[in-house]
Amino acid sequence: MQTTGNISPKPGDVLLMIGTMKGIFLLSSTAARQRWKVSGPHFPGEVVYALAYDSRAGRQHVWAAPQSPFYGTVLCSSDDFGMNWTKPEAANLKFPEDTGLSLKQIWQIVPGRDNEPDVLYCGVEPAALFESKDAGKTWSLVRGLHDHPHRARWEPGAGGLCLHTILPHPTDNNKMHVAISTGGVYRTDDGGKSWQAKNNGVSAEFLPDKYPEFGQCVHKVAMHPSQPDRLFLQNHGGLFRSFNAAETWEDMANGVPSDFGFPIISHPHDPDTFYIIPLDYEMRCVPDAKLRVYRTQDAGKTWKPLTRGLPQKGAYETILRDGMDADSLDPAGVYFGTRSGKVYGSANNGNSWKLIIDDLPPVTCIKATVVNGETQAKKVTTKRRAVKKQTKKKPARSTRKGK
């Protein structure tokens, strides 16, 4: 299969990175977010669960973790939006020999804080955290978490035993939350040396003890960087929030058709606004075959469906844990991709939606960003950006759907 087209987004343009079961698709648009140029598939035939964009220290670095079903996974990167990718000879993430473990999959790539521009994190399967302090050249296992006495009792969910959420505290370099399925939420306050389970109030309906210290099947956790002690959690059955850095959690499944689902994301500017896509517990598709994004604008007190532009019958869609993201523009762009290969986007905080592209392989992850403009700190303060007129680039597939 040949790669189609190239994209060359300018500063201020939106980059939409889509991981699928069969490779990566990169889309770009002006800030208007009406027309998208498409390139891909990159790494055709390889499964991609983790993508990231790193704009710290003047970079424009796309990170990707393609996984061959035969030849394993390596972390690759591109400085030119997919025209060229690194292909390391040796795998860059490896479990040390003494662990007896082998890397199965990279589930998450997260650039570190703005004040540590060479730090990156990866969450992997089997559940572990890796850290790089030299901008991704070398990686090491975070032993403090790996050596946790709970680890032997973490169990794989249907997707595998994975560390899928990494939330560095935006200003305190010693603090970080991670989430593991199934293991639950863990927090470090000492830069990763020690970790504490933080699941008080999060349910585990599949265990005899419904509220264990750990072992919950947490699907995803979101945090707004301006309120880092407030966390919002989509559980395997249960929707929870914490206002005290995960010391305690409370149920917030008010007005949702199901408390099961995978993704949960924050609005880029409003720390009270979060988005989820509930799924039917048994069928793992959106309830009643109606594709509805639910949004809270009051920090989880109430949730309301967003349906304009989304199919409200016959939509047997599934959205995976990293299948939704938002850009940092104002109004925010919100995007999600489905297991049936459709990607929907909203350019107005979720108020209305359009089909951006369909007929992709099953979507595993989506990351949205503003090129050369989105770091954690900027995400808090970004205001409306000027819409620059896009000039013509190399030929790339264009898409304009859902009119």
């Binding site: 079961m21 079903p69 035969f70 030849y71 394993g72 479990f95 007896g100 082998s102 890397l103």
Partner: protein, 96 residues
């Protein structure tokens, strides 16, 4: 005295495009032969082996016509064997 490795298509980018890699030494075992292959083309190692030194789950290695899974794994002797085939397993279905 030599041993020839037959390399699958997706890995030939790590062997300068070569399908057949001939090593002019006759190693005693498959493991020793692979060690020589890694020395010449280091990009192959992590694609074929895990970091724990095991052949990846969906890779089959044949010493001659025998799958080494049934002949002693990496300790398989190379007495009368001139070719080692590295072949991705037949797989597919659930996630495809």
């Amino acid at each position: 005295m030599s041993i020839t490795f037959v390399i699958p298509g997706p890995l030939r980018e790590f062997t300068d495009g070569q399908t057949d890699v001939v090593i002019n030494v006759k190693p005693g075992t498959v493991g020793e032969a692979l060690g020589l292959l890694w020395q010449r083309y280091p990009g192959l190692k992590d694609r074929i082996m895990t970091e724990q030194g095991e052949v990846r789950q969906h890779i089959n290695i044949f010493a001659g016509e025998e799958n080494i899974k049934y002949t002693g794994g990496l300790h398989t002797q190379l007495n009368n064997v001139d070719e080692i085939y590295i072949i991705p397993a037949v797989s597919g279905g659930i996630n495809n």
